[in-house]
Symmetry: C2
Subunit: 192 residues, 2 copies
Amino acid sequence: MNARSPEAAPSVTRVSFVASASSEWTVEAIRAVRGSTLPAASGLARLEGSEFTTPADATWILRGVRSNERYVGQDEKRRLSTVQEGLGRPASRRAALIPIRKSDAWWELAQDERRAILEERSAHIATGARYLPAIARRLYHGRDLGEPFDFLTWFEFAEGDAGAFDDLVGRLRETEEWRYVIREVEIRLARP
Amino acid sequence: MNARSPEAAPSVTRVSFVASASSEWTVEAIRAVRGSTLPAASGLARLEGSEFTTPADATWILRGVRSNERYVGQDEKRRLSTVQEGLGRPASRRAALIPIRKSDAWWELAQDERRAILEERSAHIATGARYLPAIARRLYHGRDLGEPFDFLTWFEFAEGDAGAFDDLVGRLRETEEWRYVIREVEIRLARP
């Protein structure tokens, strides 16, 4: 809405993933898992706030929002909350950003069909939970923003858990749910 | 993303509800049902497209997107598709825009809790279906955009069905689901 009418604060936290040299995270690899890749970058910053950020030296920027749960049920939510740990742990010197876009066929499914594929048949939530608290993560949504990716999935872990991370994403890519992914890029990151 | 990297077409259709004198729909009434109202306007346009529209003579603009189903199951979806009719029917000389914002308490619920309140305990989908095809409708989402309203709900109907429309929204406002509404404005419209 424009300034002439009362505006409430945004309900959602916004994130800008900014590819630029002067960033907290050093890019170790960018690889297309499915569909086209992203341009090369030497560093990546994850900038959360009430507004989107557009630094002048950005090579590219991906946008998203933290929003409500779309599939997690109350029992799952309760169990996850007892084991997961937050981002920013000092030992988390490795991270990954995995932007994902799903097909129109996925988005045209009804809610119960998507939930059945995602969890009852692909165990997406349960598989992620098995790697907690080692692999901390955060999900951002970009679809309603008209972004090129529906999801920006962010993971942080210790160097010694990099193998567990590979194992986790490998399992997710063997599922029925993953057949609906039409573009996925894996960006691996490190900080000193 | 910026222009330096490959951009896919937006997955969603965008809508701008523009309050301005020179519009298809004449505003008959604007009334706050809960929370603060919207500024007075004489006309309203519903502009759908791949981009948001910002006409120079707009008094205010509300934004949203058509997006995937969040609660409707496949059986409900199938039944709705057999009875509902599209927007723009010649006999639909009356319309209503009802922007709605729900509380943080609603959005913090897990998916299954929200579904249970919305349908199993409030019969939101079933109630809407009872008024089909007379009351045609379309739902737009604004929450992930950081808009002041989570939903922009649009209804079209014949003059003779205005009583049925009042009945429909009256029923929805008596439900458990509606207790989570913190702001709702009803804008009633007509075209000659």
